[in-house]
Point group: none
Chain length 215, copies 2
DNA sequence: GGCGCGACTGCATAAATATGTGAAAAACAG
DNA sequence: CTGTTTTTCACATATTTATGCAGTCGCGCC
């Protein structure tokens, strides 16, 4: 094992990129391999900069971090990739894990912890926040578990069904046709759903449904 | 949420059980619900001792910790169970996770970390050693996925941004106000987004965005 | 039986969205 | 510098949504 770790950063925000870069450059045992604003040339970047560890922002224009991660792992699986994100959003954690992420931290992670995390992946660990660790465990589908905390959002069977169709992108008309009920009925069901979820539009309802997995 | 956490220990080694018990009893915010040598009466124990957190030795005569875990989760899924083991064996980690473990630590974990870990599960985290965390991540690619769907969906930065707001439930008007642009501009961005994502409504766009993590 | 509730239907109106056409300034790449 | 993409704005129109009000029907419950 080399004594120094080459770190590459992908982060679209130039300010954050610069400060992260500076921070890590000052850490003992770390050397910056680069700091880029997008991962559209991920494969070439690996070839050229030869990092040991990559810090990858998950929200980037052009090519998302997930996509970048996938491409990196496809060409050089040995590189350790730690994802950085603002939110601990379920789907993305799942996608990132499936794509082979070696760690998953929040952008607001304190500098010290970040440097520690780099050491951790190098040592074969998998740095992640407690909440994400929990999510990861929950992702194992063998024993589906109910979230003990959040609202049951007691939707009736019919309402759940319709919410599911909304999530699929169905319009009122399509739902009515699909379920053989009148469009006015669809309206009234959706009104109820809005009340129960405390939302005021299809968009919000879909978002809430997907986020808290009550589809 | 109560201010104290009731902890139950299952550990067949009497000496270790006693010292753990004593250790935890001395920690602020913790109170021992019990310390047992086997989990053959797990269901009844839960009923009787009502723990918030269970520390479960994985190697026990009579009824293994995995089996005990399964039975606990079957009757009271809300109880947080942290597994304790001597080795970081792959199979057992996998079985434990699948059975619903909320954390996974080594017996040699220093006392301080153990107490910290109990706080962590209570707070919705999932304490585990770095090596185990890594193992857990590695267990994933076994279940590969990713829609054979299509394109990288090359959204421009602005488009991603607006899509993000849609996901948050913003209306055209709100987006225009939020970003200080005209509502017609918002329309035109959204039209482009629809083209690129191959959708025809906000609902579909939000759904697609959340599902394939391109927010 | 009477009551409440959930599923269902209908109608009406105001607001928001989908879609097309057109176009100019700015940013960027070759 | 030139062509492409992005971002911005405008106007018009057909649909779709959001919301309120009103009523029927079946079911479990006291």
């Amino acid at each position: 094992m080399e004594t120094t770790t080459r770190v590459l950063i992908y982060e679209d925000n130039a300010d954050l990129r610069a400060s992260l870069s500076q921070l890590l450059a000052g850490a003992p045992g770390l050397v910056m391999a680069g700091a880029l604003g997008n991962c559209t040339q991920a494969e070439a970047d690996m070839e050229r900069l030869r990092p040991d560890v990559v810090l990858m922002d998950i929200d980037m224009p052009g090519c998302t971090g997930i996509e970048g991660l996938r491409r990196i792992k496809a060409v050089v699986p040995g590189i350790q990739v730690v994802m950085l994100t603002v939110f601990e959003e379920n789907d993305r954690v799942f996608d990132a894990i499936c794509a082979g992420a070696d760690g998953y931290l929040l952008k607001k992670t304190p500098p010290g912890r970040l440097i520690e995390a780099i050491g951790e992946v190098r040592a074969g660990g998998a740095p992640m926040t407690p909440a994400i660790a929990r999510q990861v465990l929950r992702l194992f589908p063998k024993v589906p578990r109910r979230a003990p905390d959040e609202s049951p959002a007691n939707l009736s069977a019919r309402e759940q069904e319709i919410l599911g169709l909304l999530v699929e992108g169905y319009s009122y008309k399509m739902i009515a046709a699909d379920r053989g009920i009148s469009i006015d009925t669809v309206r009234s069901h959706i009104k109820k759903i809005y009340e129960k979820l405390h939302v005021r539009s299809m968009t919000e309802a879909v978002s809430k449904a997907l986020r808290q997995g009550l589809t």
